[in-house]
Subunit: 213 residues, 2 copies
């Protein structure tokens, strides 16, 4: 479990009143927040408008999420947990480099069908570079974890002799994560001109000796 | 001149009253907007707060920039013009591929000393992916121009036999622009861990046969 999830489960309201209706409402609020944060950004999203979009009162919203920060944490935590479950199994960094990059390709292909997710993370990760942004520690830690997991995968490939001879594995995780993020920006602006999984696959073909599934 | 500059010179107030005091004030407002847009984003920046930060009245601000959109255009146009003048000479895409990438390295090194610029573009380019954002057309066109200029530089290198044998030049401009953008996100979050010009230089070394100055 990541630190955001831990924080939510410790402090979050609703955790102690785990009945279906409350859970459905909670999920509905997270969904609306997801859309709002991904469209106008976190700072510009309004709790009042979110409440209205979900058909709840301000008090009803605050029952589930007493602060805007707690709602942001819930959105980020849910997203990361879902991605981990769907693409990386247990959420632990897989040790098999080929499996890791095959999963990464599937994740990027999945994202290309879900512009809302991409837009949310593109906008929030930029906004959160301000040290006073409530998601700043989350994004700093998220990228550290991502670099670490990817570098393990690259080291595994290097160890097995699966990297092409011209490839320098040092710092490669920084570059590949940057490529993925940067492709998102161009794709969001020109979705018909940019094919994210195709570009990532081409780059991985230039790095790894065997073709990924 | 790009389309934003053209639009400003055609419609912008202040252009017809080009006296030093007005120009100084105009420059001061652009500077304040630059900081605000790069910190809280365009949507969240307030014209009233901007006026206060510059010590002008709301009417004084509106004399120079009748809308928030016109101020955004002025900020973006000034940034791009300065970068073009400083790093790419006349603003036309240079035909010499080595010169182009040497300039790009200098630009990225310059940006690493100016987090405000990086943060402005990272945040605005994400925000502007929403089709109703006033800077949406600007950013779509900006990336198209950037891909086109970089692809010309790559084609020049290919033509002169300066690309390493493993390099596929098709789509490489998309990847390299993505790398530059993605490095900015990681660097803004962890400035002490990420060295943008070093990473770009390493990538270019893997692509181009000769060392860039």
């Amino acid at each position: 479990m990541n630190e955001v999830a831990a924080s939510r489960r410790q402090h979050g309201p609703g955790a102690s009143r785990n009945y279906p209706k409350g859970e459905r409402r909670r999920a509905q609020i997270i969904e609306a927040a997801f859309t709002a944060f991904g469209t106008v950004g976190y700072r510009n999203a309004s709790m009042l408008q979110l409440a209205a979009a979900c058909g709840v009162s301000r008090a009803g919203l605050l029952h589930h999420f007493p602060t805007k920060e707690s709602l942001l944490e819930a959105v980020l935590e849910q997203r990361e947990r879902r991605d981990d479950e769907r693409f990386f199994g247990t959420g632990e960094a897989t040790r098999d480099g080929l499996e890791y990059f095959a999963s990464m390709l599937r994740l990027v292909a999945h994202n290309q069908d879900h512009p809302g997710i991409v837009s949310l993370f593109a906008l929030l990760s930029s906004e959160a570079s301000a040290p006073d942004h409530p998601a700043h520690p989350y994004f700093v830690a998220r990228y550290e974890r991502a670099r670490c997991a990817m570098q393990s995968a690259i080291d595994d490939l290097a160890h097995r002799g699966l990297l092409r001879p011209h490839v320098d594995p040092v710092g490669l995780s920084v570059d590949l994560l940057a490529l993925i993020d940067g492709l998102q920006i161009q794709w969001l602006l020109s979705p018909h001109d940019i094919d994210m999984p195709e570009r990532l696959r081409a780059r991985l073909r230039d790095i790894i000796k065997v073709e990924l599934p």
